[in-house]
């Protein structure tokens, strides 16, 4: 079947089988920033935005994206670069495999909550597993990133 998606702001038509998952269609078409860490919607590595909300692309059938807006890490490169700098500063992109999915969740968190507490950060990111960093450093990096953004705004 043909699937129409507004992908990272561009209108695209993809071929997909009715039982294909969104992650596979995305990766097949070159959106390789979407990573696959499990097959059970448990790790968050495949997180993308659908109509502005975080979804797990490994647990979303591609046909469900028909007529919707999908944003992958490729579509938010500038925002990701900003976050990446804070991650790199703390050294919390170890193997980096979980990072793109985590970035997608951070961007969604920002959208939902103006000035999140640590508790809220953890809540929004709880579905993004990371086996390397131990999470603490990522929390430090996210906090600094958000604070810097606040500072920028108040300027």
């Amino acid at each position: 079947m043909k699937i129409n998606i507004t992908l990272n702001g561009e209108k695209k038509v993809f071929n997909a089988n009715y039982d294909d998952y969104l992650i596979d269609v995305l990766r097949k078409n070159g959106y390789l920033g979407v990573k696959k860490g499990c097959d059970t919607g448990s790790c968050g590595a495949c997180s993308v935005h659908m109509d502005g909300k975080v979804v797990l692309s490994c647990a979303t059938l591609a046909c469900r994206a028909d007529g919707h807006e999908i944003t992958t890490i490729e579509g938010v490169q500038n925002e990701a670069t900003k976050i990446a700098k804070y991650f790199a500063n703390e050294g919390v992109e170890q193997c980096g495999f979980c990072s793109p999915g985590t970035v997608m969740s951070i961007l969604y968190l920002e959208k939902c909550i103006e000035n999140p507490t640590d508790e809220e950060i953890l809540h929004y990111l709880n579905g993004n597993l990371c086996r390397c960093s131990g999470y603490q450093g990522q929390l430090r990096a996210i906090r600094m990133y958000l604070e810097a953004k606040q500072d920028e705004k108040s300027w």
């Binding site: 920033g33 193997c95 495999f97 131990g134």
Partner: protein, 770 residues
């Protein structure tokens, strides 16, 4: 120092976070055949018949291979230096399957879905055999996991497959009986650790193709490219020179990629079809078809005096190596060798035991590599002994543990070719680690008082640990530096950065020696055709072993630049100084930048290429040390444990990059907390793994973790690169025993079998109350 000890960022950090295609699956050619492995549903069975007729008819199926199509060659998948201390007990495919998930057939098709469809249409007639699932009853059981006669070991490791024994260990010194008889107290305890999954985020992935010379090229997410090349050559029966292994960015390893797995299948398909092929393990494949931490059990006997002096230790263990013996003896050996040395004042020591075959998913390497299991047993026993002699965990350790400048006869016993000279642990800062932890956690006050808040009780606990820094006289690393025109360097290394940041660490070391800017060095790692040999990301070796190789290469390069500087200025070398990317003739005051110099010697004047190589093999043990302190809260109504604070104080010698080291430590501690409390591998009755996805196998997520405090003591090991020792493994070892001790100190329940699940704690609490 200008580059060492600094928080420099990884050069690929930004790309990784931005999701750039850098991992194996991102790079595979789109036209690759997709390879899948049909795995056994039975724990033990003989394949009576395989019918491929219908499966082969599925359009798009390229080939299906069974054991009948493959030359029978026993080999080991363990990523260890040659000859491996592991049994050659595996065949790529065999008539017998020995665990649920063992490989039965290899299917290659144009798409994954077609391969899966064909897989379902393969008809297999199994003769189902009774499996051994309980490792305690494996030895001399009537069920034999490996009945075949063509398996063997290259080195005697006590291999007796007909008795289900994969390896044996027996090490001792002192007159045990006499010493034990002289002791006031003899304490006995049994401790068990579970199998733990590495759970790295990127699954095993490999793609293969034939290059323009018809050589097999294997691009794979591995920790051990050189070992993998050797495994492939042997198991496929082709020459090593016909294989090239390339490692792109690796999405985590923790030991999972220190055993070759996914490499064999696409390699076979490519050799057979001449087409590119790819396999990307599903998470199920990872759980069922690779390895996990060896489940172990230890009986510990401690002989001590009333004043707390420990005089004798017996460590009698059993390790479940599962269906295959990869890393069986090495992990098990480490469980004693790298733990008992902590208590160097003992007069008698006996470390013995066996690694046994069962029909469980095989054990393998996982961060800590057996030391984690051994540390749990010994440290738990020491904590129990402390109570018996009316001491606390810190005091008993201060009395007995190894301190700076001391040695232990065990160091000589466990070091290949060590000779008789005692090995002094001059760089041991363990005492300092404990001291720092004591003040950070406010030990003296906290240990004497349990805080209660409703149903919640809070307590503290302690454990110490060490690890190795490469294997003396075994691990070998080399590095090559090339000066390019325009004055930048290529550092070629066979070491594999699996997320630890080792590429950057090696770069920092090279930049320090050469006194050049970090950005002036590009690291190229690892490609077996191009980069020099390295044992891989393995045995905590990279910073220490590969780092030392880089120092040698960089020193040689520096000498070369000076000597060519002499040629350039037509003067003797003594007149040349190379500093800060400038080559200076101190006699005349002339100088030239490294960029200009390298352009000149490349294009105009001397016409030469400067290349220098260095190699290193550790000569002595240079263990990193750690003291871990846990502060936990136990809910006595639910049995739930919350590690509110964990303090890890580490001696890894000089810290080359504080940020990277800190994250290594935090990550390792969290992995240790997972092992202590929640991670559990569960089998069903007939040997099916019940925890074969992230739904069932739980690793810590963000909300599971309290505060983690990491501190480094100021250490320096003169054999390490700029004084550095390893860091990656030691950091996991203290978590479980310290947490278990804290649980006991909080609520009086002593868990001797990991994980300390809420259920276990609650049961124990109820038992204690009744």
């Amino acid at each position: 120092m200008k580059k060492v000890g600094k928080n420099i960022q990884k050069s690929d950090a930004i790309s990784l976070v931005k999701g750039k295609p850098v991992y194996t699956d991102d790079l595979a050619p789109r036209e690759s055949l997709i390879v899948k492995v049909l795995r056994s549903p039975h724990a033990y069975a003989r394949i009576k018949n395989i019918d491929l007729n219908i499966a082969l008819k599925v359009p798009g199926v390229e080939c299906i291979l069974t054991y009948k199509d493959i030359k029978r060659i026993p080999f080991t998948r363990a990523g260890q230096c040659y000859p491996e201390l592991s049994a050659y007990d595996k065949f790529i495919l065999d008539e017998y399957v020995r665990h649920v998930g063992d490989d039965v057939a290899i299917i290659a098709a144009t798409t994954g879905k077609i391969a899966e469809k064909a897989m379902k249409l393969i008809k297999i007639d199994y003769e189902i055999l009774d499996p051994i699932l309980d490792f305690e009853s494996a030895i001399d059981n009537k069920i034999i996991v490996h009945k075949e006669d063509d398996i063997f070991t290259k080195i005697p490791i006590g291999f007796e497959p007909k008795r289900n024994i994969a390896a044996k260990i027996d090490l001792q010194y002192g007159d045990m009986e006499k010493v034990l008889n002289s002791c006031d107290i003899v304490f006995n305890g049994t401790y068990k650790t579970q199998a733990q999954a590495q759970a790295m985020m990127e699954a095993q992935t490999t793609y293969t193709y034939l290059d323009h010379q018809e050589r097999l090229t294997v691009v794979t997410s591995t920790q051990v490219p050189f070992h993998t090349r050797r495994h492939l050559a042997r198991s496929l029966g082709i020459k090593t020179s016909k294989i090239r292994v390339i490692k792109p960015r690796v999405g985590g390893g923790f030991g999972s990629k220190q055993t070759s797995h996914s490499e064999f299948y696409p390699s076979l398909v490519t050799l057979l079809t001449s087409k590119p092929a790819k396999i990307n393990y599903s998470r199920k494949d990872v759980f069922n078809g690779t390895t996990s931490r060896h489940k172990m059990q230890f009986k510990v006997t401690l002989g001590a005096m009333k004043n707390g002096e420990i005089k004798a230790i017996i460590l009698d263990g059993l390790s479940d190596t599962g269906a295959y013996g990869e890393h069986a003896i090495t992990t098990f050996g480490s469980a004693g060798k790298k733990v008992l040395t902590l208590y160097n004042k003992i007069e008698a020591c006996h470390f013995k035991g066996k690694a046994v075959y069962t029909n469980n998913v095989p054990g393998g390497a996982l961060r800590g590599f057996g030391v984690t299991q051994g540390t749990f047993a010994i440290e738990s026993a020491i904590n129990e002994l402390a109570e018996k002699v009316n001491m606390n965990g810190v005091d008993i350790r201060n009395l007995n543990m190894i301190k700076q400048g001391e040695t232990s006869p065990l160091y000589n016993m466990i070091t290949k070719g060590a000779g008789k000279e005692p090995m002094y642990m001059d760089s041991c800062m363990l005492e300092e680690c404990v001291k720092t932890g004591v003040s950070s956690i406010d030990w003296i006050r906290r240990i004497n008082k349990v805080e209660t808040n409703g149903s919640k009780k809070r307590g503290v606990g302690v454990a110490i640990a060490q690890q190795g820094s490469g294997l003396p006289n075994i691990d070998m690393a080399s590095a090559t530096l090339k000066l390019n025109d325009d004055g930048f360097f290529t550092l070629m290394s066979g070491a594999t950065d699996i997320g630890t940041g080792s590429d950057l660490i090696l770069k920092q070391i090279a930049a320090e020696v050469l006194d050049v800017k970090i950005d002036n060095i590009n690291v190229y790692a690892a490609d077996t055709d191009i980069t020099p040999f390295d044992s891989g990301a393995y045995a905590s070796s990279t910073t220490y072993t590969s780092g030392n190789a880089v120092i040698e290469a960089a020193n040689k390069m520096k000498e070369m630049i000076i000597s060519y500087g002499g040629k350039f200025y037509n003067t003797s070398n003594e007149n040349i100084v190379f500093e800060n990317e400038i080559i200076k003739n101190i006699k005349t005051g002339d100088s030239i930048s490294l960029a200009e110099f390298s352009n000149k010697i490349t294009y105009n004047l001397i016409h030469t290429q400067l290349i220098a190589s260095g190699s290193f093999v550790p000569k002595k043990a240079a263990p990193p040390y750690m003291a871990g302190f846990a502060d936990v809260e136990v809910d006595t109504e639910t049995g739930e444990v919350w590690v509110a604070d964990f303090y890890g104080v580490i001696d890894c010698g000089t810290v080359i990059n504080p940020n990277l080291a800190k994250i290594q430590a935090e990550g390792g501690i969290v992995q240790g907390i997972g092992m202590a409390l929640i991670e559990d591998v569960v089998y069903e009755k007939r040997g099916r793994l019940a925890t074969d996805s992230f739904m069932q196998y739980k690793i810590p997520c963000r909300k599971d973790i309290g505060n983690i405090h990491v501190e480094f003591v100021d250490g320096n090991d003169e054999t390490g690169p700029f004084g550095a020792k390893s860091i990656g493994e030691v950091v996991i070892n203290t978590a479980a025993p310290a947490i278990i001790d804290a649980i006991y100190n909080a609520c009086g329940v002593r868990i001797r079998e990991l994980p300390a699940s809420a259920e276990k704690i609650l049961k124990a609490l109820n038992n204690a109350n009744n």
